[in-house]
Amino acid sequence: MNIIQNLPILVVIVPLIASFCMPIIGLFRRRYCFYLTLITNFLILIFAMLLLNYVINQGEIHYYLGNWEPPYGIEYVIDHLSAFMIILISFIAFIMTIYSKEDVENELPTNAPLFYTLFMLLTASLLGIVSTGDLFNLYVFLEIASLSAYTLVAVGKKKDALIGSFNYLIMGTLGACFILIGIGFLYLVTGSLNMADIALRLPSLYSSHVVHAAAIFFVVGLSIKIALFPLHVWLPDAHAHAPSTISVFLSGLVLKVGAYAMIRVLFDIFTVEFFVNTLPIAEVLSWMAAIAIIAGSINAIAQKDIKRMLAYSSVSQMGYIALGIGLANTPGIMGSLLHILNHAFMKGCLFSAAGAIIHKYKIRNVHQFKGLGKKMPYTMAAFSIAAISMVGAPPFGAFFSKLFLALGAIESGKWIFALIILISSLLNAAYFFSILERAYFTKLHDEEIEEAPISMVLPTFILAMGCIAFGVFMFILEPFLRDIATSLL
């Protein structure tokens, strides 16, 4: 059997094994944990590239765990969407591993093995969520991801982190319960847990109230996971108090994987026909998303702590992604997917830049950012690129995702959403330009360049380059995203 055919499971199992090895290695040499993580994540990145290449050229890969054929056994399916998510996760994970070295030494010097154990566990479970074709398996990985995320938030030095983590735990568990109930209901009526199989059996049951209830449980549960307003209350504390590496992970990947799960459940299991026409889920979702976009941005403007500001901005940005899902047409989905990619890079870059600033100058309050542009030219350059991209200015990446979303809104005849998307750009501009203004256009007397360590600046810069590249080379991405969107609809 071809090695490529085994990659779907390897991509999950390798980080899982690495995670179990971590505490043992940590017993001997703490810093070896970092190198093991680095090597593992590099390996996964290569796997991801091979997978993407194979999927684009040869089509989907189906892997049966233990050779049990579905619907009896667990199936792993790598299609375009999965491959897209896998490459995103593995790339950010690899980049952030480099970043984590200084961050971990600074923020949790004694807990490095614990940190890397959880870090690998989180990576493994995120990869598991996007590769599996089995609904219950997806739930299991979702829970592993959440549990490791709760712990990673709490691993920080401060008490606030514990409170943040506890809130996250409560809300996250509620969400997980809802999802589990949804799965249970679906199993009840279809007798299957394989996604493709359920999708096959569902259409005849669309009038069943159990199916309706299942759909609603799924949507609410996943809305908590993606912090859709007003179910976002756990997010700001959790993201703000986590170690910077983890903030990037939570904002950039954990939320995105929740959005992925939502796309999978709504489009592949329930189909557009069901959630647009049978139940008004799409309608409700898009309105909630629209409120999230505005409310998140307004909250972000009011923040002084840089990481809280970025966290609220994530609430708003997840609104864009949810809006695209709710629009349920080709440009809308393309916008969502593109924004998953763009936001992962932008917010990743912003959080890692914020982390570098906190690492170097111990300042979190944006009012103290005066003159930073001259003190940390490279970090702030990366920050500016990502911030301007967040505002949605061309030719950066987010301009195109917002453009697609707006076109999707117009296509479905809801121009009000297009207007909300555009106006929210102004709100984004309000808080990002106030930072840039302070950082660059304030005169300071001591303007010595003192950069953060290269292992933090380089990853930040690579993420910033991504923000530019996804805008300038959008035309390469576009056919790929269009393929995914048409296959979903």
């Binding site: 440009p331 301007i388 505002v391 200015a393 061309p394 030719p395 301009f399 195109f400 453009l403 707006a406 076109l407 117009i410 296509e411 121009w415 297009a418 207007l419 555009l422 106006i423 750009s425 102004l426 501009a429 330009f433 203004e437 660059y440 256009f441 304030t442 005169k443 959008m474 035309f475 576009e478």
Partner: protein, 491 residues
Amino acid sequence: MKMDIISIKPILAVLVSLMAAILIVVFRDYRNIREFWTISASIIKFTIISSMLPCILTGNTLYYELFSVLPNISVAFRVDALGILFGILASFLWILTSIYSIGYMRSLDEHSQTRYYAFFALALSSATGIAFSANLLTLFIFYETLTLSTYPLVVHKETPKARSAGRRYLIYTLSGSVILLFAIILSYSIAGTLDFVNGGFLSKSTSITNLQILFAMFIIGFGVKSAFMPLHSWLPSAMIAPTPVSALLHAVAVVKAGIFGVIRVIYFVFGSELLLDMGLGMALAYFVSFTIIVASLFALVQDNLKRRLAYSTISQLSYIALGVALSNPNGLMGGVLHFVYHAFMKITLFFCAGAIYVVTHKENISELNGIGRKMPITMSMFFIAVLGMCGFPPTCGFISKWYLLLGSAEANQLLLIIVLIVSTLLNIAYFFPIVLRAFFKKPAKQNGIEEAPPLMLIPIIITALISVLLGIWPDAPYSFFHIVRLMEGYI
């Protein structure tokens, strides 16, 4: 027969200054090499753009498509008569402004000069991109980058006042962009294309009310940069920027990008016929004539020289809009000629203001008593430009104003003629006192002649002389007049 010739030149023209921006940052520690890149980029850019001129003058257009974003939307460049007019204007004046900038920035020993030159080059890239855009999306992309690259130039001084000017600039322009982008998306959903077509791509098949709202959104979107009242107030406050920025960007590149957008919308998105049918052309003409008068009144009471010039710019920009909104050959001719001529005259005035500031550190008109005796050359050039602004022959301002009056007469709009005449009187009322004060009032103390450094003086003389030359020999070979002639087909 008109042809679309595939050519990479438009992209090169955009990329030249982008590359220059990178080189400027790389060579930030060697100021002579850094300035060398600015100057050579401006010369190369002008050469590339003018090398396209012969081809355009034969009625052809140059086209290059970079890539497509969506079905029927691509990032593409097309150089036509209007585009090359703006391109040549901006790139030629960039050469002079670069030379002037070196004199200005070094005389004042300004800080952050690398940032200044780099963003200046980026702004020029964006302006060229706007000039050569083949569709609304491409135009919008460069329109936004122009906004963002000008922001650091506005806040260059880094004082609280500069920061608040910058904030105001962003609030106005970004809000304008939001409305503009919304209008663009709506047009795409209506027409399924965004490519500029002579005669417009929108048709009457859409309901009139929708088209009217759409047009209003376009005008508001582009109107911010064109400084139509009441969307103008960012421009006077942006005068806190270094004078070369005010000269090239806030009298030519940025504000004219707005007007350029208005022209594109009138003739290439809606088409003059559709607009006249809906009565929107005249509505726009009357809307801007309000700006013409009121901005001149505002200018009367400004004591800060640059602010007075800014209000004059606001008023003059609306002349251009008035001409093109009339949608008749003479009006269009007058508007587009004023687009060019105003640039030469206003840049001269700003250059003079900068020279005065460098020599005397004075910004207010009330302090300029007798400055004409101290800086005779500068103030003579200032006087020539003032004559042009007021529309006196033999300067070029007379010619464009003449065509504007002809156009208004042709459209049977007596009221617009009155507006133009009254505003000319107002121009005299706010410009002549400066000249009189400079030459005839006794200064506090007489120090003898002290002119600005030659790097500043030479550009001033060149622009002033060109303003006269364009007035006495408007149809010289390869002059703007011939390019404008090509635009008669737009109507």
